[in-house]
């Protein structure tokens, strides 16, 4: 193996690097040297060098030089960057995983609110540090579009370590993997680290979902993560129901409008008529399969009025949530996803009536003189849950 060792480096480039680390490995004959510089050396110099040496030892690196340039990276970031560098240099071994966060072992829950999901680029540790604080229903560590091709390996290792080391609070722990072989490698790396839900990009046929689910069962046993297929092409929309119903691990169905409109040859407009059928189809397919329909992102971070209108419109189509690309979008989304006072009043009446009917052992639920069917009761209960989550109602 040591015949194939080459010089390598890992970590971000450019000015103003923060909370990250750049590392270079130079092969050599002499015993391993670690040259470390850091703006926090006076507080963590020893810890940084020790972390680098720990990875080197695990990878059997006994010679050459590691040049570590630190910009205030946390330990799990240091471990990831050094591992990436050594793998690129040609070494291989089981990874050195960071110590688990006390709050990281949250259980995955099938039926939960998925109003907001915050995308975090998979190769930018700085943006992960506080991601769990904003109350998003889900955090998506993204390995796909936000990571350039040359950094896919680095992001995979970093996201794996983030899953191991970070507490994302009450947010659902989600990862968007890549398509094809990259995606398979992504799955292998992240599956053992309490990922709750995996987003599958550009799903066009149910077999893609089945294959992924089978692979996950192989990797993680019966307690597999949930799946959320993303429809991003006319073919995917055409097969929406089959995809949503392909495997019991699917919990939600969503769509990506950028790629879709490109394939359609219909540029995106604010009115979004070009994607109307796709969005409606997604809602119908998801509801038919008993999973949650989730809408796409709204990309103008500064336009909170536009975001609010967008969320109300998508909610009106039947969607249960939308994607967010900045934490400041989360409260706006939650506000816009909340039911109106009139909806809530009606829903509470129905829920109350259903409870009374249950208590009295009646089969049929009546509100006033009108009979109410079970799906209406279920929807009313969902409305009340949304109202509780939005702080409109005490538990």
């Amino acid at each position: 193996m040591s015949t194939n060792i080459v010089p390598a480096h890992a970590g971000p480039s450019g000015e103003k690097i923060r909370s990250d680390l750049v590392v270079r490995y130079e092969p050599g004959e002499a015993a391993l040297a670690v040259r470390m510089t850091s703006k926090v050396a006076y507080l963590y110099g020893e810890a940084i060098e020790a972390a680098a040496r720990r990875v080197a030892a695990a990878f059997g690196v006994t010679t050459g030089t590691l040049v570590v340039e630190d910009f205030g990276a946390l330990e799990w970031v240091i471990l990831a960057r050094v591992e990436t560098c050594l793998r690129r240099a040609g070494f291989g071994a089981e990874p050195v995983l960071p110590a688990p966060a006390p709050g990281g072992a949250t259980p995955r829950v099938r039926e939960r609110l998925r109003r907001s999901r915050l995308y975090v680029p998979g190769n930018q540790p700085k943006l992960m540090l506080s991601a769990g604080l904003y109350g998003a229903d889900g955090i998506i560590l993204d390995l796909e579009d936000s990571v350039p091709p040359a950094e896919k390996d680095a992001a995979r290792i970093l996201v794996r370590n983030a899953l191991a080391a970070m507490d994302f609070g009450s947010s659902e722990r989600m990862v968007r993997i890549n398509q094809g072989e990259l995606g398979a490698a992504d799955l292998e790396a992240i599956a053992p680290h309490n990922v709750h839900t995996i987003l599958l990009p550009k799903v066009e046929r149910p077999e893609q979902v089945e294959r992924t689910a089978a692979k996950l069962r192989e990797l993680a046993g019966h307690d597999t993560p949930f799946l959320m297929p993303i429809l991003e092409s006319p073919l995917g929309i055409r097969n929406a129901y089959e995809i949503a119903a392909a495997d019991p691990s699917v919990v939600a169905l969503t769509l990506g409008l950028e790629d879709l409109s490109a394939e359609l040859g219909a540029p995106r407009t604010p009115e979004a008529w070009e994607s109307f059928l796709a969005r409606q189809t997604t809602v119908y397919a998801a509801r038919a399969a008993g999973v949650q329909p989730i809408a796409s992102v709204f990309s103008d971070v500064r336009d909170s009025a536009g975001l609010e209108a967008y969320v109300r419109r998508e909610r009106g189509l039947g969607f249960d949530g939308v994607g967010c690309i900045h934490p400041r979008q989360i409260p706006v989304v939650h506000r816009a996803m909340a039911p109106s006072e009139a909806e809530l009043t009606r829903a509470r009446r129905i829920v109350e009536a259903a409870r009374e009917a249950r208590e009295r052992g009646l089969g049929a639920v009546a509100v006033g003189s009108k009979m109410v069917d079970p799906p209406v009761v279920a929807q009313a209960e969902r409305t009340v849950r949304l109202a509780v989550a939005a702080g409109m109602l005490e538990e």
Partner: protein, 561 residues
């Protein structure tokens, strides 16, 4: 001798201590005694005493005996206020035209000489050209061993390093950041740095701790008599409050302007009756670096979260009530705080009786919307603020005298319901640091920070860590604000309430705000960041931090390398 070896260049120290004697002016405030004390104390220059906060501080600084911090409210100076020599109008032109042909002519006219104390002011911020002009001119004149007494220094003033190196400047008593901070912390300055709050600077001038020989005031607008304001002209910055004490108490006062108007310059914040000479120059500073065209709110999600939590805290505890008052600066987080507070005030239908600035367009908008009754402004950060001050009688200029002075018969800062401030560190006893980095390097001035702690509720808005460096620590590197005055610490990971404030702890019961014990926060940071090593430090003092009453609160130590 021990002390002389420590501070180097004994001849300079002698000159520094003796400099007041020939002039005679300082003798009125006891310079003779100080001189003897100084000489004696050179033997014990390294004598460190433990003050009431448990901090080791030098017993003597730059030849003057010091009073160690005696606890909040524990020091009551007595005696009479200091003042300049009696002047007579006979020495000034009857037609009121005090113009001098150049800054050099003016400095010669007021008798600038070796060892004097020269003051400048920071209302032009990083755009200031005047302080550099003063010391460049002093260097040309061959003057040495000046003490520079700025109300604050900015990166643009790194120019003064060469004057420190060449001996034109002996030492600085004022905030030192960036290159000047590094210079001082490395122990390269001949004298010791003295850091004071804005209020403490007024206190030191008024009780004679610092006697200014020559004050040079950069004035955006002035007349030939010396009346000056900051409302108009290319360098308009709003107000000149930081220079007000100097104009009253300095022996000699020079006004430098690039917008000379015929007498009378209206309104006058600096009164020409205190001014010796007026100098017209092509430019007193770079307007682009003085005020910003528009103030931009931070986009950092963490800072926005901290600001929002702080505003909600004020609303839910009832600190925000009709007729309340607040102080918020223009720093990223505190500005965002004011914006969140505005929304909550509107929603609750309450208005503030007054707000203390740093003003920005956001505060000006609140004034216009009726959400604030008056802005009592200490400095203006953008053009909307300057325009409002010029045009709206409810937007008034203040000074450290009205706002902060320990020797005043009361001051505004203690009448404020809530002040929100930043900090570099805060410890588990709620002590705050605002001047040094966690490695002990000088990073910021104190500004009005210490003075604002007098508010009924003081909140520090800080990230819990910055690039792995914990902000919440076991013990602050440099103590700037005693924990008994700091009520609430707001971080992105939760809000810690000082246990002394049982009323606030009661007020948040049942709230869904993330209230946390400060020790829990600290323990979480130790997990996230790792427990840090103890950074290296020395036992050589390079600067002291004064408390608002003139006592010595803490020491900044020399850092190796």
């Amino acid at each position: 001798m021990f002390g002389l070896e420590l501070y180097g260049m004994p001849s300079m120290i002698d000159r520094w201590l003796i400099r007041a004697a020939p002039d005679g002016t300082i003798l009125a405030t006891g310079a003779g005694a100080r001189l003897r004390v100084g000489r004696e104390n050179q033997m014990t220059a390294r004598t460190l005493v433990r003050n009431a906060a448990g901090r080791l501080v030098p017993a003597e600084v730059n030849g003057a005996e010091q009073t160690p911090f005696a606890g909040v409210g524990g020091h009551r100076p007595s005696g009479r206020k200091a003042g300049p020599k009696i002047a007579t109008c006979l020495d000034y032109p009857a037609d009121g035209d005090k113009r001098a042909g150049s800054l050099r002519v003016a400095l010669e006219r007021v008798g600038l000489s070796d060892g004097m104390v020269v003051s400048t002011h920071h209302h032009l911020r990083n755009g200031d050209a005047v302080a550099n002009m003063v010391f460049d001119t002093a260097a040309d004149m061959g003057v040495r061993d000046l003490m520079w007494f700025p109300s604050a220094s900015f990166p643009v003033h790194a120019n003064q390093i060469r004057h420190l190196e060449s001996g034109v400047i002996h030492h600085i008593e004022g905030s030192m950041n960036g290159p000047l901070g590094d210079y001082c912390t490395a122990g390269k300055m001949r004298g010791m740095g003295v850091l004071r709050s804005h209020g403490g600077r007024w206190q030191a001038i008024q009780d004679g701790e610092v006697h200014i020989d020559v004050a040079v005031i950069a004035a955006p607008t002035a007349d030939p008599f010396g009346n000056a304001n900051a409302l108009d002209g290319p360098a308009a910055c709003g107000l000149l409050g930081f220079a007000l004490a100097d104009s009253i108490y300095a022996e000699k006062v020079i006004v430098v302007t690039d917008n000379l108007v015929p007498f009378p310059c209206l309104p006058w914040q600096i009164q020409g009756n205190n001014v010796d000479a007026v100098v017209e120059v092509p430019s007193i500073g770079d307007p682009a670096k003085i005020v910003s065209g528009t103030t931009r709110v931070t986009e950092s999600p963490d800072r926005l979260r901290i600001a929002e939590l702080a505003a909600r805290f004020c609303a839910e505890t009832g600190i925000m009530h009709d007729g309340f008052s607040f102080q918020a600066g223009a720093g990223g987080t505190t500005l965002a705080f004011a914006i969140y507070l505005r929304d909550l005030m509107k929603a609750a239908g309450v208005a503030a009786s007054f707000a203390r600035g740093g003003s920005t367009k956001y505060m000006v908008e609140m004034l216009r919307e009726g959400l604030i009754g008056a802005i009592l402004d200490g400095q203006t950060f953008d053009l909307d603020g300057v325009a409002s001050m010029r045009e709206d009688p409810r937007h008034v200029d203040t000074s450290p005298f009205t706002s902060y002075n320990f020797h005043g018969k009361g001051y505004f800062a203690s009448m404020v319901d809530v002040a929100v401030l930043g900090a570099t560190q805060v410890d588990v006893d709620f002590n705050g640091n605002v001047v040094t980095h966690s490695d002990g390097r000088l990073l910021h001035g104190i500004g009005g920070w210490q003075n604002c702690l007098a508010a009924r509720n003081t909140m520090l808005l800080v990230p819990s860590f910055r690039d792995r460096i914990p902000v919440i620590v076991d013990e602050v590197t440099t103590l700037c604000g005693p924990g008994e005055l700091i009520d609430v610490v707001v971080t992105e990971r939760g809000i810690a309430i000082n246990p002394r404030r049982a009323d606030l702890l009661d007020a948040v019961k049942g709230s869904d705000l993330p209230i946390r014990d400060i020790h829990d926060l600290k323990a979480q940071l130790d997990r996230i960041c790792g427990v840090p090593q103890t950074p290296p430090s020395t036992q050589d003092p390079v600067a002291v931090v004064k408390w608002v009453d003139g006592t010595v609160l803490d020491t900044v130590w020399r850092i190796e390398g």
